[in-house]
């Protein structure tokens, strides 16, 4: 499996990238005539795989879909490290990594489009983009959806829309989510208020790796819960034009309050974090994420002039276990991982 060595994303400034690390649109689809994945026999799962492979690999040959050459990864014949790499890049879910079913993922060359096959639904397609640019992502996923739909029949009902294994996804099957970096709200102890407000607005708040994970490094993944009774564009508009800008503004306000009223605190937190990252010889993942988060805040607020933002952004990915192992070209045990992580961070931050 060949992945791009480094994330190509953070080359250009994306909209609202001071707060929004990335955004994602996901569509849940099932192929008509097959039971959903949890009730499908091995033969049926294989048949879904075969169909999906044929359709997805053919997209690259179709002029309508342009530069959409897909790489097919059969996850039953892949190494654990490869699957972890894909999880760390948010190209597959943890569920798909750990699943015992016949399963696969198709990934576009630029790694911004991926289609999980036999996750909870037959097809889970997603487009990832840096910053807050969900409109473009929706257009792209829509093209992919059309291409697939031109060759297979989806499970669909006029009343419920696209039928999904879990009824919480039924209707449009669309999920918009953003990965927010909210360090100032964390420092000012207001993050719980945001969590509650988000829940009241029928949004899901999750950690860095989705469902059931902790908010490592002050990252929060927020997504819409309602998928029925509204058009895709309506859901998008409310989420991207209304809800998320409010949270962004809240974090920005917290940042400026910190700078105005608690300058020593802000400088202490950011410089202290950088000092540790520049000197530590052993670094756990959680600690690394937390310190990198503070350094990122310091860089964005022009407190730490000699650290490039791009390097910090990439470190969030590079300090993950599978990426460290890839870098080392070997499997590392827990102690070796902490050492390798500290080495990498120290060199990058020097």
């Amino acid at each position: 499996m060949e992945l791009i060595p480094e994330s190509t994303w953070d080359n250009e400034p994306a909209p609202h990238s001071d707060v929004v690390m990335s955004c994602r649109v996901r569509l849940a689809r099932n192929i008509a005539g097959f039971p959903f994945v949890n009730r499908a026999s091995e033969t049926q799962c294989n048949e879904v795989m075969r169909t999906a492979r044929e359709v997805l690999l053919a997209m690259g040959n179709n002029d309508d879909n342009g530069d959409c050459q897909m790489m097919w990864v059969d996850l039953n014949n892949s190494t654990t490290r490869d699957r972890r790499l894909l999880v760390e890049r948010h190209l597959i879910s943890r569920n798909l990594d750990e699943s015992k079913t016949r399963r696969a993922v198709a990934i576009s060359e630029d790694e911004t489009l991926s289609v999980m096959v036999n996750e909870e639904d037959h097809l889970r397609m997603q487009v990832l983009a840096p910053g807050l640019e969900l409109g473009g992502a929706l257009e792209r996923i829509n093209t992919v959806d059309d291409a697939v739909e031109s060759r297979v029949d989806y499970a669909f009902s006029p009343r419920w829309g696209y039928l999904t294994a879990c009824p919480t996804n039924v209707g449009t099957g669309v999920r918009f989510s953003v990965m927010l970096h909210l360090p100032a709200l964390k420092i000012t102890n207001e993050i719980e208020r945001v969590r509650r407000a988000a829940r009241d607005l029928h949004l899901a708040v999750r950690g860095y790796y989705g469902e059931g994970t902790e908010s490592a490094g002050d990252f929060y993944q927020i997504s819409n819960q309602v998928t029925l009774g509204r058009t895709e564009v309506d859901l998008l508009d409310e989420f991207e034009q209304n809800i998320i800008p409010q949270i962004i503004a809240y974090e920005q306000e917290a940042r400026s309050i910190l700078a105005k009223r608690s300058e020593p605190l802000l400088d202490d937190r950011t410089h202290r974090a950088l000092a540790i990252l520049r000197n530590a010889r052993l670094l756990g993942l959680e600690e690394a994420m937390k310190l990198l988060s503070r350094v990122r805040l310091g860089v964005l607020m022009q407190r730490l002039d000699d650290v490039p933002l791009k390097a910090v952004n990439q470190l969030f990915l590079q300090v993950q276990p599978a990426h460290l192992q890839l870098h080392a070209g070997d499997d590392l045990n827990a102690d070796q991982l902490r050492e390798a992580r500290a080495d990498l961070v120290r060199k990058t931050m020097a």
């Binding site: 008509a32 949890n38 009902s157 829309g161 879990c166 209707g171 449009t172 058009t231």
Partner: protein, 185 residues
């Protein structure tokens, strides 16, 4: 009842029995969120199911639940053989036909988890792409119309309104392909 930790009203009440010792916790919204206790209304879907779809009597094993609910939990999907009771356990349906087989119970559940929505609107297969493009186009026209009215550009507004009306008409006659189900609201 007041929160154990402050004077606000308690909204979460948790009773645990450990080693024969009963322990009660009552917390306000803030302190509940802080201590990680799930708020009412934000449970996973299978918990919603047990609470709202099944009557309390039916939920306890061997209870004398209402006949209707008992029948519904024994209902089987012809498509995949899943029973409603099995769905209640996992929160995951077995096949597309489950939506028909359990339509009655699902409609309550879906309405509840989908902010009151009962029907799909938006993209449908066969009119793929077109329908989304039209939504985007309509949204754009509506925004321009609002702006024109705000700026008191009434001629422009009238023109935009005509364009919008044209779209409605074209949608109404099904514009060529699959005529029926694609417009519901």
């Amino acid at each position: 009842m007041k929160c154990d930790l402050c004077n606000k009203p308690a909204v979460v009440h948790e009773v645990t029995v450990k080693n024969g010792q009963k322990n009660e916790v009552h917390l306000c919204e803030d302190h509940a969120a802080e201590s990680g206790i799930a708020m009412p209304g934000h449970q996973p879907i299978n918990q919603l199911l047990t609470q709202f779809v099944v009557s309390p009597a039916d939920a306890t094993q061997g209870g004398t639940g209402k006949k209707g609910t008992q029948r519904s939990s024994r209902k089987v999907c012809d498509g995949c053989g899943m029973t409603f009771a099995q769905f209640r356990q996992s929160g995951i349906l077995g096949c597309a036909e489950c939506y028909e087989a359990f339509a009655e119970q699902l409609s309550i559940l879906i309405q509840r988890t989908q902010g009151g929505a009962t029907h799909h609107v938006g993209k449908s297969p066969r009119r793929a792409g077109k329908s989304l493009d039209r939504q985007l186009e309509r949204q754009r026209l509506i925004k321009q119309l609002d702006a024109a009215v705000d700026a008191e550009q009434y001629e422009r507004a009238a023109k935009l309104r005509d364009m919008l009306n044209m779209m409605e008409v074209n949608d109404g006659d099904g514009s060529g392909d699959s005529s029926d189900e694609s417009r519901r609201s």
